[in-house]
């Protein structure tokens, strides 16, 4: 890739307050081939937006720290100010108060045009310019940054490759001749063309069909794995948030942060009723995905092996408290469920008696998998095995239900405790941040 003389030091931090236009290019010249994180931190400090004529601010005192290379999802009901918050980061909406720092540099007062060339921006329904070809659209920002023509050309091909579109085929096409999903890919390619450390995405997959959306989400995860940008992503779809986010900020009205945490933590410990309401009716089911079989405690069940004498099996079935015993094969793997009477009917032949074990789970399986296995198995329980397949115990429907109930109960208690703690800390924390935010810049 040819390097322009103006961009001699890729990745060099830009001097704050540098006044010349060429300084704006230095930040954007880091190449994607560089390993590790190419993102930059974003810090929002008591960010506020007040519109004239409305008594309450649209965004009220948002504090948010986003680590370099992290994907943070802003999620919340419509009208909660999440989009406004996002647009204040590249100052499409000018904040009425507070500070924005990107990569440690205060950008609240810098020239917004220069700022935006360093921040990728992708919006719903792609925002491609219909009168320009795909290549012209992608080349826009590099050209504005005065990259040499040859480098722009190479970059366009590279970006098309990156988002999985054949450069030869799509280069000269106009947006109207692309499908919705393809347009969105080009939109992302355009946003990333100048290799900005930060990418802002405003409900980018909101207007495509569910199947394509799923595909684009997978693609974004792959891309992000490769590029390690700092991504701020706005959506109202909580499932999308869980899928894409390293951390999720659940926002309530006026962009108040109800909870800012990992998807697991939000599912298991929703901070309050608002968050659990937003997590949705499926929370208990989603919760099952985050708990392992080993966490719920497995029970024992009478077992026999195929080598045991028949008389012992008879005795066990006749005397034992349980209706069923599990027959293991010679390597102690679950083989068959035996019920009272099974052996009689099969005239004492173990080979013909009982029902085969269809499905087993390991201790690492999620509760959801376990539930699935229990529901499909006629016996209402599922055998738990070690990694090598040997018997370890069983989980039955009752255990599952009880433990889920206990877990949810515990979650609730913990959340309440956490909330108390947070409220206690809040006053102190805001104070500390205001005092020492400058010191922890640049990761």
């Amino acid at each position: 890739m040819p390097e322009s003389p103006a961009s001699a030091s890729p990745g060099a931090p830009e001097a704050p307050g540098a006044a010349t236009g060429s300084a704006g290019t230095t930040c954007a010249t880091g190449t994607t081939s560089a390993t590790g994180t190419t993102g930059a931190t974003i810090e929002l400090e008591s960010l506020t937006k007040r519109y004239p004529g409305s008594p309450r601010p649209a965004v009220d005192n948002v504090d948010l720290e986003i680590r370099a290379g992290e994907t943070v999802i802003l999620v919340g009901p419509s009208g909660c100010g999440k989009s406004t918050t996002l647009k204040m980061i590249n100052r499409l909406i000018e904040p009425s108060g507070g500070r924005i720092r990107i990569g440690g540099e205060d950008v609240t007062d810098m020239d917004p045009v220069r700022l935006r060339r360093r921040v990728g921006y992708a919006i719903q329904s792609s925002g491609l310019f219909p009168h320009m070809t795909v290549a012209q659209n992608i080349a826009l920002v590099p050209k504005m940054l005065r990259w040499p023509a040859a480098r722009v050309r190479a970059r366009v091909e590279e970006m098309l490759d990156l988002v999985g579109l054949d450069p030869g085929e799509f280069h000269g096409r106009y947006p109207r001749r692309l499908s919705g999903g393809q347009q969105q890919r080009v939109g992302v390619a355009r946003a990333l063309a100048a290799d900005p450390p930060v990418l802002l995405m405003d409900e980018p997959f909101g207007a495509v069909d569910p199947l394509t959306r799923d595909h684009l989400q997978d693609e974004l995860i792959r891309l992000q794995h490769e590029l390690r940008k700092t991504i701020v992503f706005v959506t109202h779809d909580f499932d999308e948030a869980i899928k894409l986010g390293d951390r999720i900020a659940v926002l309530r009205e006026r962009s108040h942060i109800a909870q800012f945490d990992t998807p697991e933590a939000i599912l298991t410990h929703p901070a309050d009723d608002f968050v659990s309401g937003f997590v949705g009716a499926g929370a208990a089911l989603k919760r099952l995905n985050l708990t392992r079989v080993r966490d719920v405690g497995i029970t024992d069940c009478p077992t026999v092996t195929v080598d045991d004498p028949l008389q012992r099996i008879f005795d066990l079935l006749r005397s034992g408290g349980s209706h069923e015993i599990l027959l293991l094969d010679r390597r102690r793997r679950p083989y068959k469920w035996l019920r009272r009477g099974d052996l009689m009917r099969a005239k004492g032949s173990l080979a013909r008696a009982g029902t085969l074990v269809h499905d087993t789970v390991t201790r690492d399986a999620t509760l959801r998998d376990a539930l699935e296995a229990v529901l499909t198995d006629s016996s209402g329980r599922v055998a738990v095995t070690s990694g090598r397949g040997t018997y370890e115990g069983v989980v039955d429907v009752e255990t599952l239900m009880n433990s889920v109930r206990e877990l949810l109960e515990a979650d609730r208690l913990e959340a309440m405790e956490a909330q108390h703690e947070r409220e206690g800390h809040r006053a102190g924390r805001t104070h500390a941040e205001q005092e020492g935010a400058g010191g922890e810049a640049d990761a």
Partner: protein
């Protein structure tokens, strides 16, 4: 003398008149386009200013052309100046109106995207908004041109250039042998010019409207 003999005898004079007619319309169109688009650009963002501009230009258009030229003569004298001023003013309305409508019709999401990727106000206007508003603006220019073709004929009243001279002379000498020929030649040549200009605009549209937004 029949019409064809008349054309044959006077073709020199007719060509000059035709050329001058085309030239004055063309130059006034260039001026009206520049001024009209500038007015559109300056006013489309505000409801109030936009409707002011449209109302002002349409009021201009309601002034009878003969009266307008008559009123201009005491101010700027005879000949070319009143012609050019009147034609430019008349040409404004369709261009101003279509500029405003076209610029306002640009998808706000695209304007947002243009700003969001770091275009300055001027760049956004030049590279996104005007190109997208160009088809309706060009339509406005076409309508203006057709209108000016006819109005330019009135300019002869103020001793202006163009084919209007033929028509006025013919009307003044009605009954004489060449009167009808003169009026007929003037009118037909104006129609011919209008058609040629229109063909020109089709060609300009082909060349300047991006394939990505062509209907």
């Amino acid at each position: 003398m029949n019409f064809w003999e008349y054309l044959g005898n006077r073709h020199q004079q007719l060509l000059i008149d035709t050329y001058q007619h085309a030239s004055v319309v063309f130059q006034c169109m260039v001026a009206a386009t520049v001024i009209g688009v500038l007015i559109g650009v300056a006013t489309y963002r505000s409801d109030w200013a936009g409707s002011m501009a449209t109302t002002a230009t349409s009021t201009l258009l309601t002034i009878p052309s003969l009266a307008m030229i008559g009123l201009l003569i005491p101010i700027v004298g005879l000949g070319v100046p009143p012609t050019v001023i009147a034609l430019t003013l008349y040409g404004l309305l369709p261009i101003v109106r279509n500029s405003i409508v076209g610029l306002r019709g640009v998808d706000p999401a695209l304007v947002d995207a243009a700003t969001g990727i770091g275009m300055s106000r001027v760049a956004r206007l030049a590279r996104v908004e005007l190109p997208l508003a160009w088809p309706p603006i060009l339509t406005g220019i076409r309508v203006s041109t057709q209108m000016l073709m006819g109005i330019a004929a009135i300019a002869a009243y103020a001793s202006g250039p163009g084919l209007g001279n033929l028509i006025f002379r013919g009307i003044a000498s009605l009954g004489s042998s060449n009167a009808l020929n003169q009026v007929l030649a003037g009118t037909l040549l104006i129609i011919l010019l209008a058609l040629l200009f229109d063909a020109g605009y089709v060609l300009i549209g082909r060349l300047t409207i991006s394939r990505g937004i062509r209907a």
